[in-house]
């Protein structure tokens, strides 16, 4: 510690690492220390706090360089284990994106798995095609490779380490499969992501020590922060990092390919950042608890950018295994591994204690006040609300003859059955009515369909249209959350607007 006793420098800490008397705590241990002994003591006693996270990070990938073949090839299209990889640069540089899927086993095997297999030392199959030039005449290539055959193999993740993330639920009637995993209908489960109080950025939310050039734990080896991640939005505590590390040095454990049913593939990445405790303020910040970190419970059944937020929850509640939504207990699962996050912070701690990992001062600070903008869209897309019109309705105690008349005078094909409060009960079509009259039926209850497929007003029209096609029907009553009928949308409305 420097003379005033109020600050310490990264150089002083590195000197202690060299001498072997550095004091390192994991984020978990630091929180306990601050709670029991206070910030002042914790600052005096602790030089470094190690953080960690282990989650699915889709914006990850690896850059590889193959070396030149003979005759040489300027790759145009390439596949590794049938996963298409990009060729963003010159002849034999490739980028393996974690979410690119195998053409033979889509949704089960993808770029994340290719990276995992390479890291594990497995042999992979490369296929490439090219148009052929005077200097690169070859047009076809097929070979097998391991990581030892590559000139460079490094992870280049352009968005990792999300500071916190939504908690996802599904209020619809059907199971949905999302990047937040499988969501059962009617809020039967919830999922969340992120390590909460162990997350690196949560422990240095003002980017005092984490910046460009910060040496970190990445996939089980030393890596670096090379800038802010894409969608970095620190002002509302949604910061991200862009990171790089030598994948040849990574052990298999901290990078795992992942398959999300009906969503696609990804890569789980273990990432940890050491936070030098340079002042009391940092000692205090690294004491942050799950109970102080909040996120939104978001309804993923709404296929829109701005999905409804049902409530706020703390990571403490999320990690407890269940949360309460509208008086209902909903069981909640983490998608990122807390066990592995702890392992990351412990491993990083041991590296520093053993003197194999030294801290760095960032060469440039990351922005700490930017926000993430939505996309600028030049074309408007239509929603159900923009085409729906008032529904012709009836109640269950009406006679079929009266309804038949209404179908004729209003010239519609669908009559929505409602109760006294205007809530949806069923639907009848002109076809149902014709048949009922032919069969001499009188009661509406005998012919109405009660299992009604519906639409919501803020759904994209395209999705409502798909639903009609899927169920082979030509109209959807539009209802609100309470099942009150707001209107109706028909396949005619859709074809008028979308031209199909």
């Amino acid at each position: 510690m420097s003379k005033q006793g109020k600050t310490r420098t990264v150089e002083e800490i590195n000197e202690k690492i060299r001498k072997g008397d550095v004091q390192v705590l994991t984020a978990e241990e630091m929180k306990k220390l601050v709670e029991s002994s206070g910030v002042e003591v914790a600052f005096k006693e602790v030089d470094v706090v190690t953080t960690g996270t282990f989650g699915a990070m889709c914006s990850s990938g690896a850059v590889i360089n193959l070396g030149h073949s003979d005759p040489p090839i300027k790759i145009d299209h390439a596949w590794i284990n049938d996963v298409e990889v990009c060729h963003p640069g010159a002849a034999v540089d490739l980028f393996i994106g974690a979410t690119n899927m195998s053409e033979k086993q889509p949704f089960e095997y993808g770029g994340g798995h290719v990276i995992q297999d390479l890291v594990a030392g497995k042999e992979v199959e490369l296929r490439a095609t090219a148009y052929g030039t005077d200097c690169y005449p070859r047009t076809q290539l097929k070979t097998t490779l391991t990581k030892d055959d590559l000139n460079q193999f490094y992870l280049l993740n352009f968005r990792n380490c999300y500071q916190r993330y939504n908690c996802a639920v599904n209020s619809s009637e059907e199971t949905i499969y999302t990047y937040m995993s499988k969501l059962l209908p009617r809020l039967r489960n919830a999922t969340f992501s992120g390590a909460g109080e162990l997350n690196p950025l949560m422990n240095d939310p003002d980017y005092e020590t984490i910046g460009m050039g910060t040496r970190i734990f990445l996939g089980g080896a030393q890596g670096y922060v090379i800038g802010e991640g894409t969608q970095h939005s620190p002002k509302n505590l949604n910061g991200t990092l862009m990171v790089k590390g030598d994948a040849k040095k990574m052990p298999p454990e901290f990078l795992q390919g992942a398959a999300f049913t009906r969503y696609g593939t990804s890569l789980y990445v273990g990432l940890g950042v050491p936070i030098p405790i340079l002042n009391e303020g940092l000692a205090k910040k690294t004491a942050i608890r799950d109970s102080e970190i909040f996120t939104d419970v978001v309804d993923y059944s709404v296929p829109r950018r701005d999905r409804p937020k049902l409530r706020q929850v703390s990571y403490k509640e999320l990690k407890s295994g269940s949360i309460i939504i509208d008086d209902k207990k909903v069981r909640v699962s983490s998608l990122s591994s807390l066990k592995m996050a702890k392992k990351v912070s412990k491993t990083l701690k041991s590296w520093i204690e053993e003197g194999t990992f030294f801290l760095t001062t960032p060469i440039e600070r990351l922005p700490s006040d930017s926000v993430f903008k939505p996309m600028r869209q030049t074309g408007e897309i239509p929603f159900v609300v923009s085409v729906m019109h008032p529904a012709v309705t009836c109640t269950e105690n009406e006679e079929i003859r009266a309804i038949a008349e209404r179908i004729v005078t209003k010239s519609v094909n669908h009559i929505v059955v409602i109760d006294g409060a205007g809530k949806l009960r069923g639907i009848v079509t002109s076809w149902d009515i014709t048949r009922a009259m032919a069969e001499g039926k009188k009661a509406l209850a005998d012919i109405e369909s009660r299992n009604v497929i519906t639409a919501k007003p803020d759904e994209p029209l395209e999705i409502a249209s798909k639903r009609m096609a899927q169920h082979n029907i030509s109209a959807l009553p539009v209802i609100d959350i309470e099942k009150k009928v707001l209107g109706i949308v028909t396949s005619e409305d859709v074809s008028k607007l979308l031209g199909r």
Partner: protein, 143 residues
């Protein structure tokens, strides 16, 4: 304990077949899950090992189809304890240990009639597997 899936046809639903068998053989049969309506139904039941053979036969004699369903198997090498599967399990067979590892309780799991967790595992560590055919086992024992 052996898990079996009993399938009842429309005509069998109103008959008290299960209770008759329990009374006749004096064997406790635990019902783990049931989906029954007037058109037919399925019951997932658990039968003690010693009695499996005669009980399965008794159901079959009464025209009930009996199958031994698949159970699940978790590849602990592949599982990285993300926890995605935990809240999906309807019978709370999956839990998180003190050290944050994910644990499966095979006794509680109802197997392939459920399988909700299988396609939610990002590591594809959960597989449906065939339960050892109980009848075969019983036959082998006799020989």
């Amino acid at each position: 304990m052996v898990r079996v899936l009993l399938r009842f046809s429309e005509e069998q639903v109103p008959q008290p077949i299960t209770s008759q068998i329990i009374l006749e053989y004096k064997v406790p049969i635990a019902i783990l899950a049931a989906h029954i309506n007037s058109k037919g139904g399925e019951i997932l039941a658990e039968i003690p090992d010693e009695a499996q053979e005669k009980i399965i036969k008794a159901f079959r004699k009464r025209g009930v189809s009996v199958t031994v369903p698949k159970l699940i198997e978790v590849d602990t090498e592949k599982c990285f304890s993300c926890g995605s599967c935990v809240a999906l399990c309807p019978v709370e067979a999956i839990s998180i240990d003190k050290d944050s590892s994910v644990k499966f309780d095979k006794e509680k799991c109802v197997g392939s009639t459920c399988s909700i967790c299988v396609d939610a595992c990002p590591a594809r560590a959960i597989k449906s597997v065939k339960q050892t055919n109980s009848e075969q086992l019983a036959n082998n024992r006799k020989k």
